[in-house]
Amino acid sequence: MSARPSPPEVIRGRITRVSGPVVLAEGLGGAGLFDVAEVGEARLAGEIIRVDGGGATIQVYEENTGMRPGESVLSLGKPLSLSLGPGLIGTIYDGIQRPLERLKESSGSFIRAGVRGERLPLDRMWAFAPALGPGDEIGPGTLVGRVRETELVEHRVIAPPGTVPCKVSRSVPAGEYTLRDTVLETEAGESLTLAQEWPARRARPSRKRLPPNEPLMTGLRVIDLLFPLSKGGCAAIPGGFGTGKTMAQHAIAKFCDADIIVYVGCGERGNEMTDVLTEFPKLVDPRTGRSIMERTILIANTSNMPVAAREVSIYTGITLAEYYRDMGYDVAVMADSTSRWAEALRELSGRLEEMPAEEGFPAYLPTRLAEFYERGGRVETLGGRSGSISIIGAVSPPGGDFSEPVTQHTKRFIRCFWALDRDLANARHYPAISWIDSYSEYAEELREWWDRKDPAWKDLRAQALDLMKREQRLEQIVRLIGPDALPDEQRLILVTAEMVKNGFLQQSSFDDVDKYCVPEKQILILHTIMEFHRRAEEAIKAGVPLTEIVAMPARERLSRLKSEVANDRIEEIRAAEREMAAAFDGLARVYSREEAT
C-alpha cells in the first residue's frame, strides 16, 4: 500500500432529511464528491453524491429504516475504495465488497444493516516469493513478487499505479507473510504490502490499448463459430425473461478460456448465485483439471438487496477485473444484468429529483454505460504485460422489446450482440441466440488468428450464415405457398438448415457431453453438415429425389453427433462423415443405373 502524505480528513455533519436510501445532511462543507461516509448512529456505509454549500446528498448502501434527522454523518475524506490482494479468488462479496460468507458467520442467514467483515483475510499467511531486491528499479506496475493464491492463480503482486519511480531500499526474503506485513520499502519512502486499495469508480490506468485479435473461446458453438468474442471485447446479451441470458453467462463463466472470471449478479435472483456457489466448486476446468471456483470471484447484489449498492456492484466487479488484468491475465466479466444497474441509476436519480430523459432514465445513462464498457479491452499494462478484460453484459429489456433505452445505448458501446429470441426459447432451442439478429464485429479481427489455427473457419462461418439467411427467406415463401411448391434444391436448404439448428446451433447446458464443445469438434460438426449439403446438392442435380436423401440413416446421425461424440473422441465425426459419403455414393450408383436404363 502506498504511503499517504497525510491521513484523510474526517468531517462530521448532521442528517436533515431521510427519504429512502437518499439522505440529506448539513455541515459537510469540506467533503468531496464521491467520498465515503458513515451514516447515522448505525454507521451505515454511504457515499456523497452531491455537495452544495454546506449541504450534501448521500446515498446509503444499506437498509436504513429507522434512520432519523439529527443523527450524525461522518465523511471519511476518501473515495469508496476496494481492497485488492490475495484472497479475492473464490470469495463472494456484495456490491460494496462486504464478504458474504463472513457476514453469514457473524450475523446469520439474513443480511443486517451495519454489519462488517474483513474483506480480505488479514491474518492468513501467504507464501511470498519476492521479485525485487534492494537497489532494483520500481515504478507503477512493477512486479514485486508472487503469491500462490489458488492452484490455478498465481497472484502477482504489482506496485500500485501511483508508485513513485525510484529504487527499492528494503525488501523481505521469501517466506510467509500476512496482508499486514510490509514486504517492500522504496527510496521514496513508500512501503508496500501484499494488498492495495483502489477507488471503485476510477478506471485503473494502463499503458496502451492493444487490438482484440484473439478469440475468447466459450465452448458454445453459435458464439465461437458464428458470433465470436475477442479477449478484451465487449458483448451484450439482451433478451426477455427466460430466454437464457443467465444460463449463457453461467456457461461462459464455466468453460471459457479466460484466466479469471468475475461474475457480477446485479439485481438478479439469490438462487442463481447459490447455484454458482454450489456448482462451480464441483466443476473441473477442462483445461487445467482444477475446480473452476479457483479462478472465480462473485459479486452478489441480488434484487432484494439495497439498490444503491447495486449501482456500485458493477464498478466493484470491473475494478477487481482490472486488478487481475494488471497482473497480465485475461479476465472475463459477466454482468447480469446491466438493466438492473441502469434501473438503480434511475431510482437514485428519481430520488434526487433530477430531470429524467427517456423512460425516466437520467440523461447521463449513455455516458455511464460508455464508461463501463470502456473499462473492457486488451491492454499493455503499466508493467508492460499484456492483459485483457472481456465484458459480457446481460440486458433485460422490458417486454423483451429491444427498442428501449438500455439496449439501444448499449449497442453503441459494444461490438458483439447476441440477440436472444423468444420463439427459439419457447421451443427450448437453447442457446436462443438468433442467427438473424445477432452480429459480431470481432469476426474480422479474428480472421488471422483462425487462419493460423484452422483456415476452414472463415469459409464455414460464411457458408453457415449464408445458408441460414437463405432459409429465412425461403421460410417466408413457404409461409405463403407451403413447402411442396418448392423445387428439391430449395427444399434441401430447409432440410440442411434444420440440421444446422438441431445438430450445431442448439446446445443444451444440461447435456453432459455437449454442454462444452472444443473448437476442433465445433469445426468438424459444422464441416460435416455443410459437406452433407454439398453432396446432397450434387445428388439432386444427378436426379436423386430429396426424399431419398432425407431418409438416409447416415443423415439422422449427423444431428446427434454433438451429444454422442465426446470432446476427446472427435475422430468418430470423421467416421460419420465417411459413412455419409458412402451413402451418397450408393445413391449415386443407383440413380446413374436408373438413368442408364
Binding site: 427519504s19 446469520g108 447459490t274 419457447n426 405457398i481 445438430g503 439422422e556
Partner: protein, 475 residues
C-alpha cells in the same frame, strides 16, 4: 410505543399526508393517525426531515381534516406477532385477527419487511413436488422452495389450478431428505380479491382437511387499496417464521399480485414520482423482488418457502409490466391460455411460454425418472413445431400439408387434449405423465425425435404406432 404526537396536517394527497415536524420521526417508522372520528388508521413515515414528515397511510384518508388530525409515532416498523398459534388463524390485510379470536399469545414480533437472505446462506432448491398436473410435473416442474407464479387473465381457471396444486402437492419419498420434518403449512394472502374467491379457497382447504394448517391474510376487494401493500409482507413474515423457526414446508399463495401492483402505482402517483412504464414506479421491480425473493431454503433450517403468486395479466398481455417484471424475478411462470380455455380445456396451461427454471436440478434419475429431461425437451420441440405447422395450415389449408406436417398436427391435437388437459381431481403420478408423453411422441416418426437419445427411445418409446386405437379425428 413512543406516544409522541403531531397535531394538524399541512397537506393530504390520496394516501400521503404531510405534517409539520414536531418530533423526529424515523424513516419507515409506524404511525397511528387519528381523525375527528377518533378512528385509528395505520401508516408509515416515507420521508422525514427537519421540517416535515410524510406519512403513507395503509388505508384511506377519508375523515381526516387538516386541523384535527393527530399523528402518533409508534417507534418502530410494522410488526407481526408470530408463534405456533398462527396456524388455523385468519387475519386482515394488516395482520390483525379478523376471525373473532384474540391476538395470538406470543411476545415474538417480527418486522414485516423482513431482511434479504444472504445468498451464501441459501440452499439451492432441488426437491421435486409432484402436483399431479402433467403440464406442470412433466414440462414445468415445481420444486420445493421455488417461486412459480401463475400468469392468468380474468375468468381463467387460475384459482382452481392453485387449489388443485395445494390439494395434490406431495413429495415423492425418493426425493425427500432423510429425517426431514415433513410437516407443512399453507399461507394464503388475498389482496383485493372478492369474497367468493376467498371463500372458494377456504372451502377447498376445508375439503382437503388442511384448514387447521392454513394461515390466511385477507384484504378483500372492499378494504382500502393501500392495505394491500402490507398484506403480502405480513403473510411472508408468517411464512418465514413457520419455515425457518418451525422447520415447516410452507406453500404461500399470493393473489392477486395485479391488485398489489395497482396499489403501489396509486401511492407512487400521489407522491408525484416520475413514472416508468404504464404509470408504474421505476422501483416496481425492486419492490416485487422484496416479496418474491422471500421464497427459498436456508442453511440450518429444514423448512422451505414455496411461493405461488397469482396475477391476472391486464388484457392478457404478457408484456405488461406486472407479468413482465414478475417473470424477471420468479423462477419461471405457468401461463394460462384463453384460447385453450375457450375450447373447454382445463387447466388450459400454455406449455410453451411456461417455464420452470429450477426443473433442471430436480428431475432425472433418483428424483423423477431417467427419461424426464429428454422426453420433456422432445415434447417441447415437437409441440413448438406443431404450432408453426398450424400457422402454415391456416394459410395453405390442411390438405396441402406434407404427410410429416400432418403427423405433427395430429400430435399437437392429442398433446393438448390428453396431456395438457385433465380433470380437476385427476392426480397423475409422474410416471403416468412421462409414459403419456412417450405415447404421444410415438405419433411421430422416430427419426424426428432428435432431442431424445437413442437409449431412451429404446427404453420408453412404445413400439406400436401411437395412433393405434386412436379415436376421434376432427375434420
Amino acid at each position: 410505543m413512543r406516544g409522541l404526537e403531531h397535531r394538524g396536517l399541512e397537506r393530504a394527497e390520496g394516501p400521503i399526508i404531510i405534517a409539520r415536524r414536531r418530533e423526529t420521526a424515523g424513516y419507515g417508522e409506524l404511525v397511528a393517525v387519528y381523525g375527528r372520528d377518533g378512528a385509528r388508521r395505520m401508516g408509515k413515515v416515507v420521508d422525514s426531515s427537519d421540517s416535515a414528515i410524510a406519512v403513507q397511510l395503509f388505508t384511506t384518508n377519508t375523515g381526516l381534516s387538516l386541523d384535527e388530525t393527530r399523528i402518533e409515532l409508534l417507534g418502530g416498523p410494522l410488526e407481526l406477532r408470530v408463534g405456533p398459534d398462527l396456524l388455523g388463524r385468519v387475519f386482515d390485510g394488516l395482520g390483525r385477527p379478523s376471525d373473532g379470536y384474540p391476538e395470538i399469545l406470543s411476545s415474538d414480533k417480527r418486522d414485516v419487511n423482513g431482511s434479504p437472505i444472504n445468498p451464501s446462506a441459501r440452499v439451492y432448491p432441488r426437491d421435486f413436488i409432484q402436483t399431479g398436473v402433467s403440464a406442470i410435473d412433466g414440462m414445468n416442474t415445481l420444486i420445493r422452495g421455488q417461486k412459480l407464479p401463475i400468469f392468468s387473465g380474468n375468468g381463467l381457471p387460475h384459482n382452481r389450478l392453485a387449489a388443485q396444486i395445494v390439494r395434490q402437492a406431495k413429495i415423492l419419498s425418493s426425493g425427500a431428505r432423510e429425517g426431514a420434518d415433513e410437516s407443512f403449512a399453507i399461507v394464503f394472502a388475498g389482496m383485493g380479491i372478492k369474497y367468493d374467491v376467498a371463500r372458494f379457497f377456504v372451502d377447498s382447504f376445508e375439503r382437503s382437511g388442511v384448514l387447521s394448517r392454513v394461515v390466511m391474510f385477507q384484504s378483500l376487494a372492499d378494504s382500502p387499496t393501500i392495505e394491500r401493500l402490507v398484506t403480502p409482507r405480513c403473510a411472508l413474515t408468517a411464512a418465514e417464521y413457520l419455515a425457518y423457526d418451525m422447520g415447516m414446508h410452507v406453500l404461500v399463495v399470493l393473489t392477486d399480485m395485479t391488485n398489489y401492483c395497482e396499489a403501489l402505482r396509486e401511492v407512487s402517483a400521489s407522491r408525484g414520482e416520475v413514472p416508468s412504464r404504464k404509470g408504474y414506479p421505476g422501483y416496481l421491480y425492486s419492490d416485487l423482488a422484496s416479496l418474491y425473493e422471500r421464497a427459498g431454503r436456508i442453511e440450518g433450517s429444514a423448512g422451505s418457502i414455496t411461493q405461488i403468486p397469482i396475477l391476472s395479466m391486464p388484457n392478457d398481455d404478457i408484456s405488461n409490466p406486472i407479468p413482465d417484471l414478475t417473470g424477471y424475478i420468479t423462477e419461471g411462470q405457468i401461463v394460462l391460455d384463453r384460447e385453450l380455455f375457450q375450447r373447454g380445456a382445463y387447466p388450459s396451461i400454455a406449455v410453451l411460454p411456461s417455464l420452470s427454471r429450477l426443473m433442471k436440478d430436480g428431475i432425472g434419475e433418483g428424483m423423477t425418472r431417467d427419461d424426464h429431461k429428454e422426453v420433456s425437451s422432445q415434447l417441447f420441440a415437437a409441440y413448438a413445431r406443431t404450432k408453426s405447422v398450424r400457422n402454415l395450415a391456416a394459410i395453405i389449408g390442411e390438405e396441402e400439408l406434407a404427410p410429416l406436417d400432418k403427423k405433427y398436427l395430429r400430435f399437437g391435437e392429442r398433446f393438448e387434449s390428453e396431456f395438457v388437459s385433465q380433470g380437476e381431481d385427476d392426480d397423475r403420478s409422474i410416471g403416468r405423465t412421462l409414459d403419456l408423453g412417450w405415447r404421444l411422441l410415438a405419433v411421430l416418426p422416430t427419426e424426428e425425435l432428435v432431442r431424445a437419445s437413442r437409449a431412451m427411445i429404446e427404453k420408453y418409446l412404445p413400439k406400436e404406432d401411437g395412433d393405434a386405437g386412436a379415436e376421434r379425428r376432427p375434420d
